[in-house]
Amino acid sequence: MLEIKNLEVSIGDTQILRGLSLSIGTGEVHAIMGPNGSGKSTLALVIAGHEDYKVTAGSVHFEGQNLLDLAPEERARKGVFLGFQYPVEIPGVNNAYLLKAAVNARRKHQGESEIDAFEFLQLAREKMKLLEMDPSFLNRGVNEGFSGGEKKRNEILQMAMLEPRLAILDETDSGLDIDALKAVAKGINALRDPQRSIVLVTHYQRLLDYVEPDYVHVLSKGRIVRSGDKSLALELEERGYDWVQEAASA
């Protein structure tokens, strides 16, 4: 599904990713962990096509296609979804309106007709119920005045509506209370599918208790320094990052 080889990325004069390689198979769930500032969000944003980040070497292929050639909206329409660590507020733009435009952009790309208003509303309500979100969020401005946790749930709602091929969730679990975490995990698990790949960027084992990853990677100083199965996350929880970083530089 996603093939990243020797990726080097800079912002301004600072290099952030230093030869990162990662392969994600169809239907797999990967967790990416690592200290603050190690480059996790940078990786997510580069895959989504953020123009501030310059790729200086390496490649990113999505379903065999060179992703780096595509504009962000083209990547999204092909099924790449990024749940942002810091979802932005867009005051005045109706949440439902943006959601519908996004759904239709994806449908149009797939050669399907636009979703009708009734069908859309029904679908949105259903997903919101699963996520234990009040339907009134549809009528508010995009993330406008949403609490931290509400913003994260809104990201999951968008993901659920868009049914992406590849979902990258950047710290979607941060700032959630216990109940919200369960609701979000439910939302993610509902989307687990042999045809869909999921990348969870997280700092905490908590989320991984609910959404069990197939693989866990540790990102440090712009590189994947260790990969393993879900037991690696438990080990990290216990021992912190120092030992992996030391082992990597040794």
Partner: protein, 482 residues
């Protein structure tokens, strides 16, 4: 980050493709202004003596005045002697015979704006007798209006047909001494609209300048007078979303509204004058005096405007709330792009008791444009329990533009409640990226954000106009993406 900012600049940097010049000769007076010119204008229109006298008084007063310099705009001084003050409408022989002869790019814009076919022809200046639809529609309207007793005709016709109304009301809201541009307009006004709604009549349709016959070329000094008698109602739509081309650089219109007891006037404007090129060359200077007088108790005047054009706009639709319990409203969206400068706002003068006013101003700046809001709320000593709410929001697109707010509040009655809120926001690169990550193209994302920003004003426009206005904004901010 800097490349990001440039992208946004590029995005809003659309070109206005319809400012083509024409070298068709018109029946014009030579450039220059003196009393003989004014006599000539009045003479060609067969005006009665009182009208000429009024024009001359205005002219003599104008000579004593200096152009105002206080607005937040700058431009090279206008040479008033280099302007021709009378140009007759083009004869049909000089016009395109059909839409086939019209610049296809202009037609494309009409298409984008969703303007009906029969109106496209008229807007493009096709000879009227080729535009069957438009004429028949207008004729049907005329019949319906006459039945209701509504007068809706060119100003010049009203001067001849209804001199008593003109004498009574002309200059009663905007006196010829009001300001430099109003004085000039009073001296040399070309034509415009006249509307009279009789007592108790609810005008059976929205009156639109689209359908005003024989006034296709009202020229640069337009004059509009609307009188709503006791208990009447009228909604008037001015301008159109189609790009207006005009050879005249200076436009100085005057609009006077009079609402008598229990009457209501709703005046909506969508204006799209040629703004000039990226460097501001060739755009229209638009200096307009618009004022409504809530003369009777419980009367209401509501201004709604969406402005995207002009190189320079200087415009303050205002309300004088004279009658007790009268209501004034001002809803405005002003878009400036490239080198455009807009200095707009409103004045609400509270005189009557329990008078209320609402101001909602939305300014959008892109490119290197400067957008200023200037609003005056004045509560006179006798205006007990007057209330005003002002909300003034600016949206910046890109990094080189500016927004300025100049609120003036004068309260001379302690019972007044005056509230002013102002916000400035930006369309950020992060917002655009967020939308794009959801599969929405950058241009659509900008439109979405801009339309969201303007929602409160659009909902005040008559339904069809609102749809057009939205399309207009999208076209105005359209650019070369990628």
């Amino acid at each position: 980050m800097s490349t990001e900012a440039n992208d946004i600049d590029l995005l809003v940097n659309r070109r206005y493709e319809h400012g083509f010049v024409t070298d068709i000769e018109t029946d014009s007076l030579p450039p220059g202004l003196d009393e003989d010119v004014i006599r000539a204008i009045s003479g060609r229109k067969n005006e009665p003596e009182f009208m000429l006298e009024w024009r001359l008084k205005a002219y003599r007063y104008w000579l004593t005045q200096k152009e105002p310099v206080w607005s937040h705009v700058s431009y090279t001084p206008i040479d008033y002697q280099s302007i021709s003050y009378f140009s007759a409408p083009k004869s049909d022989a000089d016009r395109p015979k059909s839409l086939d002869e019209v610049d296809p790019k202009l037609l494309e814009t009409y298409e984008k704006l969703g303007i009906p076919l029969h109106e496209r022809a008229k807007l493009a200046g096709v000879a009227v007798d080729a535009v069957f639809d438009s004429v028949s529609v207008a004729t049907t309207f005329k019949g319906k209006l006459a039945e209701a007793g509504v007068i809706f005709c060119p100003f010049s016709e009203a001067v001849i047909e209804h001199p008593e109304l003109i004498k009574k009301y002309l200059g009663s809201v905007v006196p010829y001494r009001d300001n430099f541009f109003a004085s000039l307009n009073s001296a040399v006004f070309s034509d415009g609209s006249f509307v009279y709604i009789p007592k108790g009549v609810r005008c059976p349709m929205e009156l639109s300048t689209y359908f005003r016959i024989n006034a296709a070329n009202t020229g640069q000094f337009e004059r509009t007078l609307i009188i709503a008698e006791e208990g009447s109602y009228v909604s008037y739509l001015e301008g159109c979303t189609a790009p207006m081309r005009d050879e005249n650089q200076l436009h100085a219109a005057v609009v006077e509204l009079i609402a008598l007891k229990d009457a209501e006037i709703k005046y909506s404007t969508v204006q799209n004058w040629y703004p000039g090129d990226e460097n501001g060359k060739g755009g229209i200077f638009n200096f307009v005096t618009k004022r409504g007088d809530c003369r009777g108790d419980n009367s209401k005047i509501s201004w709604t405007q969406v402005e995207t054009g002009s190189a320079i706009t200087w415009k303050y639709p205002s309300c004088i709330l004279r009658g007790d319990n009268s209501v004034g409203e001002f809803y405005s969206v002003a878009v400036t792009n490239n080198m455009q400068q807009a200095d707009t706002g409103t004045k609400m003068i509270h005189i009557g008791k329990n008078t209320r006013s609402t101001i909602v101003s939305k300014g959008i700046s892109a490119g290197k444009a400067q957008n200023s809001y200037r609003g005056l709320v004045r509560i006179m000593p006798q205006a007990t329990n007057a209330r005003n709410h002002t909300q003034c929001d600016s949206l910046l697109i890109g990094k080189q533009c500016g927004a300025h707010t100049f609120p003036y509040i004068e309260v001379r009655n302690p019972t007044a409640q005056v509230e002013h809120e102002a916000t400035t926001s930006k369309i950020s690169a992060d917002q655009l990226f967020y939308c794009r990550q959801r599969g929405i193209a950058e241009e659509d994302a900008v439109n979405m954000i801009v339309n969201g920003f303007c929602k409160e004003v659009f909902k005040e426009l008559p339904m069809e106009f609102a749809v057009e206005a939205q399309a207009l904004l999208n076209v105005s901010l359209e650019g070369a993406v990628g």
